[in-house]
Symmetry: C2
């Protein structure tokens, strides 16, 4: 291998505010041959996730930024085409981090799970049975710790993290209050996912609706958006409430801090007087839990105790538009790109 031509999407420019199509560039490239220890992958599915917006900036985020001209970062379901690593064979379907491209040569050591006939669609390994689902699982297990009868609130509740947070909270005997944007998503969260209450964050009286939905206050707020949802949550937090922070998508396109007053003293005062725990994390921080997650979530999915929804876009060339839409809340469920 290989004289075949592959396609990739690279970062063309660092966005100011919301990304635009011009910040991405589609390129064709010759796939290099794998060397010893490497494997050649053909990507089948690409995951699009909010964290990628952080990688487009020059500044510090979870990890090093993507450099201009580099292929965009991303989790994939990939097929092994050629292997010079003993653990992998042609035809294996694997969970990889092979980026926004049709083919990639990667170190065999970097590959994660081999995906077999687990009774689940393989692409769930990018969603409810993968990074977003594990984010929900680990954040609740290690930080949120919902107890029977407590109230758990999560935003972006039709997305892959939020949907899973609420359903796991229910499995722990907690009340789940989900927040979503628009009537279709709200109906999905309530009727399909089984949250106790679903609210539309766009409602004029959203803060009042949230207060009414949480008559005993909020014990766990799983923070993945920030912005006005957080503002409505803060006054409702109970003493000893836990706030796992895994995302702030409402702010990822901010170009300047919002107007004052400065509410940092108010937030710190609430943390102090109400004994709050606010903790930022990514799922990798709790990687020791991952095997347990794969096993337990797999069973929940096969039993139908946890449900999920996918939003599938066909073709790598449509990834930028889909990604831009996701940051504006236009996806409905786990956003995936199916590669031909």
């Amino acid at each position: 291998m290989s004289d075949s031509t592959a396609t990739r999407i690279v970062l063309a420019a660092r966005p100011t505010g919301a990304p635009t199509p011009d910040d991405f560039r589609v390129e064709t490239f010759q796939v290099p041959a794998p060397r010893n220890g490497q494997v050649l992958l053909r990507n089948r599915w690409l995951s699009l996730d909010p964290y990628m917006r952080g990688r487009m900036n020059a500044g510090r985020s979870y990890a090093a930024p993507v450099e201009i001209g580099e292929v965009m970062d991303g989790g994939t379901i990939s097929e092994v085409v050629q292997s010079l690593h003993p653990a992998w064979s042609p035809g294996d379907l694997v969970l990889a981090h092979a980026g926004w491209q049709t083919h990639a040569v990667v170190d065999g050591e970097s590959l994660r799970r081999k995906l077999g006939p687990a009774g689940l669609p393989v692409q769930t390994a990018l969603g409810v049975h993968g990074m977003p689902g594990f984010t929900a699982y680990a954040g609740l297990h290690e930080i949120g710790k919902p107890q029977h009868g407590e109230t758990v609130v999560v935003a972006a509740a039709s997305g892959p993290v939020g949907a899973t947070v609420g359903q796991i909270a229910k499995l722990h005997g907690a009340r789940a209050v989900g927040i979503a944007g628009g009537p279709d998503k709200v109906a999905h969260v309530r009727d399909d996912l089984g949250f106790d209450v679903a609210l539309d964050r766009r409602a004029d009286d959203f803060a009042e609706q949230l207060a009414a939905a949480c008559p005993d206050g909020i014990d766990v707020y799983f923070e993945n958006v920030g912005g006005k949802v957080f503002d409505a949550v803060l006054p409702l937090l109970n003493d000893f409430a836990r706030i796992p922070v895994c995302g702030l998508v409402a702010h990822y396109n901010d170009t300047a801090p919002p107007a004052g007053p400065d509410r940092v003293p108010q937030l710190m005062g609430a943390i102090l007087s109400r004994h709050l725990t606010v903790r930022g994390f990514i799922q990798r921080d709790f990687i020791a839990l991952y095997p347990e997650f794969v096993r337990e979530m797999g069973q929940w999915l096969r039993d139908g105790r946890v449900r999920y929804r996918e939003d599938v876009v066909e073709g790598l060339e449509n990834a930028p538009e889909a990604f831009i839409g996701m940051l504006a809340g236009r996806n409905f469920g786990k956003l995936l790109v199916k590669l031909d």
Copy 2:
């Protein structure tokens, strides 16, 4: 008992901003006779602590506010004068919460430790060997968790919490960086308490000095003040830093939030991207640790491994002025009122 006349200080008015002498009123009163299960106390030492400012407000704090006309709240070292409770006898010296008054009748069940010949001055049970010392001990033990070689930063480092935080951090093998107001306090923190570095928060280039004092970043910031110190700390916090929050004295007299921009998104972004843990607490949250603290700290004090400084005011009538001064940083060490 008792036809003797006692003195107390009551809350005369709720302050707006910094308290003034007019917010307090000195009263004489007839000491009531204890009933069954009660004891009559004569207070020997009164502790003055920043948390009392919160109790003067009508709003929610750690605990219910002091009502107008009620005696001000406070920890005391008291002598049992008369006891109708089997656990206590006349002459016992006890740790109590008998408030800003010379005498009190309290339930025998409410009394805490009996203070005996532990080789320590009894009034340390209100400071380094009591609530402030336990705040430092518990906050580090349960939240800060300083590791060998890590950098621990604390403000109000000549006060009873901050002084103890730095010294315990050193006992854990961490570097201790203390912040205080003015050259005398800075010298005390460095030379008497043995912090690795002591800085004056009033210096024009304080933020630059702090950065220079923390070349490997900050792993634990023990938050007891807020304000500009927190602003200088935030950019220096390492990934996975821990921030126990036990006080925000820089803000207790605030009457309005500071001018913008609103930095809550910036703070939440730092919590997310640097995996920070920010947790509010009071020492009571970790009361199960208290016996271990009394034993271990007692030994450290007798061994001279932990030092402390007291700022003693004579006479109950001087408590309001001393308390007002403490909120402005005019005390130097643990502030105590010695009652005649």
